[in-house]
């Protein structure tokens, strides 16, 4: 490039050098004036990754997590101004005491009491997910918020409006500046701050985790251990790894033919009829808290879930082959086996997570 500099360019350069000198003088005086106003670098935060988890998917390099970024993200998460009429925050449908699900609601309950058609998913361990939502329609953590924000029955808002609301709030300006070293509020920063907060929401301190990582001498009861064995044989084909999901989309036979007409799941994203009735295999962490169950929230208890697997599986064309291996579609289980599995599932409860003040609104 430099090779092509002509006389004219030289002239421009000389001019620019002069201008530059002038500007830098200005900058000097500015510097002195606002000595105490010097913007500090936000404090980097290292996220502790549980040793029993699969690798991180989210690109932390593109959005380095900082203390100030997390604080800003948390404020955004709990801010009702994210909705059209300033009534609903992310935290409204994702409540901490139920592992960030919407307790007491089978399907989403949003703005103006409008109902969606799917059960809210817990917010936990998002850093490790390749895709989001029951149908996997969103493929990057930075984009998850847009779904709820723009959905007409959830928040019914849009980001430019939200940013305009936040611009009028001096507290936000300060926090954006602290997190990103400039007061300017942009959609990218808004989403990145939210992602930073979401990225820290890791649930990995259940009884099961302590047992598997051999921490604090934690052991499982006989019933829990039997449940774990059964789980490995019968459930871990889909609820795999220590995230308890293999992150694929499968039809576990929950949808009846009529249900498929209302919600065909993954097929809505791929337009592939072979994906009809397939949903993301959900993680079972904190499953004790995340009732009701399944994509449409039709099951209330874990007993109902296991009864469904043993005697309620619908044999629709896309039913997963793992549920066709026995004489009758489904998973045959005795009453005791069911109890043992449930006992095991409850070892996935992470009290620390649902009580952690780091994530709570107040």
């Amino acid at each position: 490039m430099i090779m092509y500099i002509t006389k004219r360019a030289m002239q421009v350069m000389v001019n620019s050098l002069l201008t530059m000198l002038f500007i830098s003088c200005l900058a000097c005086t500015q510097d002195e004036q606002n000595e105490e106003d010097v913007i500090k670098d936000p404090a980097p935060v290292r996220i502790d990754l549980p040793s029993n988890f699969p690798p991180v998917v989210y690109d932390l390099g593109s959005n380095p997590v900082t203390q100030e970024g997390i604080e800003l993200g948390k404020k955004i998460f709990y801010d009702t101004r994210l909705s059209r009429n300033n009534t609903i925050s992310c935290g409204f449908c994702h409540q901490q005491q139920t592992a960030f699900t919407h307790h007491g609601h089978d399907v989403s309950h949003g703005i103006d009491d409008k109902l969606g058609r799917r059960n809210s998913l817990p917010i936990q361990n998002l850093l490790f997910y390749k895709t989001f939502f029951w149908d996997g329609g969103v493929h990057n953590l930075d984009l998850v918020a847009l779904n709820a924000i723009t959905n007409a029955v959830e928040m019914d808002e849009n980001v430019p409006h939200i940013l305009a609301k936040l611009e009028n709030d001096a507290a936000y300006k300060k926090m954006f500046k602290a997190a990103f070293k400039s007061e300017e509020i942009t959609s990218t920063k808004f989403l990145q701050a939210l992602s930073q907060f979401l990225a820290t929401m890791i649930s990995a301190n259940s009884t099961y985790d302590m047992y598997i990582r051999k921490e604090r001498g934690v052991t499982l009861s006989e019933s829990e251990l039997k449940g774990l064995e059964l789980f490995k044989q019968k459930c871990a084909g889909c609820h795999a790894t220590d995230l308890f999901t293999d992150q694929t989309y499968r039809n576990n036979g929950f949808s009846s033919p009529a249900d498929l007409g209302r919600d065909s799941g993954r097929e809505e994203i791929t337009l592939n009829p072979e994906d009809r009735g397939k949903f993301k295999v959900p993680s079972l962490r904190n499953v004790e808290y995340t009732a009701p169950y399944m994509h449409n929230g039709k099951l209330q208890t874990l007993e109902e879930v296991l009864n469904f697997y043993s005697s309620g599986v619908h044999e629709t064309p896309t039913l997963d082959s793992l549920l066709r291996s026995e004489e009758k579609p489904g998973i045959q289980l005795t009453a005791t086996e069911k109890q043992n599995i449930i006992a095991f599932l409850k070892t996935l409860t992470d009290e620390q997570y649902v009580g952690d003040r780091k994530f709570s609104e107040f």
Partner: protein, 260 residues
């Protein structure tokens, strides 16, 4: 320290500016403006005005938006100039005349007679980190809703309007929201279409100090030709049939004239 840092930044940015500015390096680089002139057959398109499509249906448009990206120019010797990826995304809005004039800078001077572009946004960019998707590509700034947030991806082409042929129970409105970059982790709808437009014997003479204006006609009637009726398809969004539509609309773009 800080001041030195500042000086460096300023010096650098001035250096960069002086190198890239098109009239500072005569004979080397030039610019072109490509104008997307939306039309209905032989007349200029106006929103809210009634027209008749090739299937005899009366209609008007209330909205017409589309993305143009990955522009490439070819000169008479067949030499191609690719607009750098980071500055090759444009959103054409019928209600914003400025948006219809796409200016490209830093083109090696020469006689150009062909232009190629994508209608939509390529899959690579569609899945990039959000910090690399600002401006018209910002998924959070719904440039009048050109992004599907439930199914991460851009709407490439959006056309809405009113026609007596559209169902009365949706107030005679029709909606075409066409997108689909091929899928992130499972293959799905792909509506990425490329148009290549030859200027025939005409030339856009790119050189410093002059900005040729390449004028393209974008004829909405081609959208319906052949055989897409509003009556049969009043709403097309994320569905297989949208491929038929994008196969039609890629033919809307025609060379009209060039001013040198």
């Amino acid at each position: 320290m800080k001041t030195i840092y500042l000086i460096n930044i300023i010096l650098l940015s001035f250096l960069m500016m002086s190198c890239s500015d098109d009239d500072v390096t005569p004979g080397e680089k030039g610019s072109i403006v490509i104008e997307f002139d939306n039309r209905v057959g032989n007349t200029n398109l106006e929103l809210y005005k009634d027209y008749i499509n090739t299937n005899g249906e009366t209609f008007n448009l209330t909205k017409l938006h589309y993305y143009i990206s990955n522009i490439e120019l070819r000169d008479i010797n067949g030499k191609a100039f690719k607009v750098p990826q980071d500055s090759s995304y444009f959103l054409i809005l019928e209600d914003d005349p400025e948006s219809q004039k796409v200016r490209i800078n830093n083109i090696p001077s020469g006689s150009y007679n062909e232009v190629t572009f994508t209608i939509g946004v390529d899959s690579l960019r569609s899945t990039m980190d959000i910090s690399k998707r600002t401006g018209v590509l910002d998924p959070a700034q719904p440039q009048d809703g050109m992004y599907w947030s439930w199914n991460s991806g851009y709407i490439f082409f959006k056309m809405e309007g009113i026609s007596p042929s559209a169902p009365a129970d949706q107030e005679n409105k029709f909606y075409y929201h066409i997108g689909g970059f091929g899928g992130y982790n499972s293959p799905t709808l792909n509506n990425i279409r490329k148009a290549t437009i030859s200027m025939g014997s005409a030339r856009a003479e790119v050189k410093s100090g002059k900005v040729p204006q390449l004028h393209l006609h974008v004829d909405i009637l081609q959208f319906f030709t052949p055989s897409i009726t509003i009556a049969e398809h009043p709403n097309v969004m994320f569905a297989d049939f949208s491929k038929t539509i994008s196969a039609n609309y890629v033919n809307m773009f025609k060379y009209d004239h060039v001013h040198n």
